[in-house]
């Protein structure tokens, strides 16, 4: 049984005149036939299924429909077409700092947020100290939420969401919270949760993060599903090449071509980088005292590539 199953999911947004016009204006525009709304498909025919222990990475440039798809999976939105089936309790980190109340204390906000995520009072009583310790807010528990710095706010939000114990974890661009130390801590925590056999979905603009953490990839572009696959490396290569060339793949060959292209590109870049490093080192050596520099160079060669040295180089060195 799949943990999450999306079957031909399509989601339509309606935009246009409907927002921010009042009832009076609405009636008038209807009467004068001047009422226009436009449709906008955020997702079209997205189909995939993931099982327990899977970590799905969703990739795609801005406006690809990633966040909208997550809203459908978490049940915030109902898809216009198709169906979403979810088995298990979801903890979703969509946007971290929304839903807190500035006038309430850190403690009160922790319980409020925990309650929204569906946890009981008893559970939160047990976890409260851990949450506060993880967020490093021990000295601020009775401060009003609005008095916290924005870094502290997101730390609290992150701690609440990931110290609880979900079956399914959904992360939307949240692994970049707080300062360096906290970011490392939160990354470790994520990996810990995922290695415990949880199912997860990760949306990230960092392809290397996807490569590292995911075993399946869903590629969206302007709402269309380009691919759903477990060949993470191949498709991540293709995606990164696509980001450079903006050529959307249509067939399997296209994907392979893109991945190949990325391979060549990275190799070229590596070569270029190596050349640059060599140049830099050479200039350092040349700047030094001629003899010592030469000797250092010879020693390095002796160590790494002795075969290119002639037999009598040691004598040469001594003669000099």
């Amino acid at each position: 049984m799949s943990k999450i199953e999306c079957n031909d999911v399509s989601i339509r947004y309606i935009t246009g005149d409907l927002k921010a016009i009042g009832l009076k204006e609405y009636v008038m525009r209807k009467l004068t036939n001047n009422y226009h709304i436009t449709e906008f498909w955020a997702d079209r025919h997205v189909t995939f299924a993931i099982d327990e222990g899977d970590m799905l990475g969703i990739i795609g440039s801005n406006g690809a429909g990633k966040s909208t798809l997550l809203k459908a999976i978490t049940g915030i939105m109902v898809p216009t077409g198709g169906s979403v089936t979810v088995h298990g309790k979801i903890a979703a980190l969509l946007e971290l700092s929304s839903g807190f109340d500035g006038q309430m204390t850190v403690r009160e906000n922790t319980y409020l947020r925990g309650a929204m995520l569906g946890y009981t009072k008893q559970f939160l009583d047990d976890k409260y100290d851990e949450i506060i310790a993880f967020a490093e807010l021990e000295d601020f528990q009775d401060y009003m939420f609005k008095q916290l710095s924005s870094g502290m706010k997101s730390r609290l939000a992150f701690s609440i969401a990931c110290l609880v114990d979900p079956d399914i974890l959904i992360l939307d661009e949240v692994l970049s919270v707080g300062d360096g130390a906290f970011r490392k801590k939160s990354g470790d925590r994520m990996r810990e949760i995922l290695s415990g056999g949880k199912t997860g979905i990760l949306v990230s603009h960092s392809v290397s993060q996807i490569r590292e953490m995911c075993n399946k990839v869903l590629w969206l572009d302007h709402g269309n599903q380009i691919a759903f696959t477990d060949e993470v490396e191949l498709y991540c290569d293709a995606y990164e090449e696509f980001l450079q060339t903006k050529k959307l793949p249509k067939t399997r060959e296209d994907i392979e071509k893109l991945a190949k292209g990325w391979d060549v590109r990275t190799q070229n870049e590596r070569k270029k980088k190596a050349e640059a490093t060599a140049k830099r080192l050479q200039s350092i050596i040349e700047k030094g005292e001629a003899d010592e520099a030469l000797m250092a160079a010879v020693r390095i060669i002796r160590k790494n590539r002795p075969e290119i040295l002639v037999d009598n180089y040691e004598e040469l060195l001594e003669v000099e």
């Binding site: 935009t15 921010a20 009832l23 979703a92 839903g99 409020l112 309650a115 569906g118």
Partner: protein, 262 residues
Amino acid sequence: MASTIQRVITTLHERRFLFEQLVHRDFTQRYKRTVLGMAWSILSPLLQLFVMMLVFSQLFGRNIDHYVIYLFAGNINMSYYREATKNGMRSLNANANIITKINVPKYLFLLSREVQALFNFGLTILVFFFFCILDHIVFTPKMLLLVYPILCLTIMNIGIGMFLSAVFVFFRDTEYLYDIFLTLLNYLSAIFYTVDRFPVSAQRYFLLNPVYVIIKYWRTIVIDATIPSLQFHLLMAFYALGFLALGAYMYKKYNHQFLYFF
């Protein structure tokens, strides 16, 4: 229908803790931020009553027994209706940033506001009974029946609140239009005058106004010390359940579209 009700009850049971937290938050927002806090909930209707007494007791008061109580009964019910429905109307929009990010049953936000309005109403009822003592109203066991109009008005407020909050999501000027409506309703609810001055045929039309029906029940019990007829009870139940059904219908129908309008 039955399954929906059952689902709502299960949800309420499961999300009891969230509901408590929301009520707690709404109370904090409401009372902690003002210096007067809870006292204001009592002072405000008292001030209103005081002004109305000054103005109207000369005009209408002479022919009405216990005019202060008569006024007060009208006032507190109207205030409760006004506060509950207006708070309910804003409940979805005020929590838009949560609704668009976390999957929570939306009506919890509305119900939490309703709890608060009911609590406020409770405070004013206490003051009301204090005035009853001052005005030498005889306390009878019949007064226990006041639970019925309170219950009916609360159910009705929830229904109208649901309806308005859904409309408010779509049309932001609902607030102003509803304010106008409330002013009109205030004058049509016989708060400071009696309907006796109208011809009998016209008096019947007042029964179309649910708030007036509730107020009349209070006055009949407290001032006249008589129990209204069975039909009168049924009419109140009809209004309460009818508006609840209307609100629930709006929610069920448009529930999933709210998101596009925030």
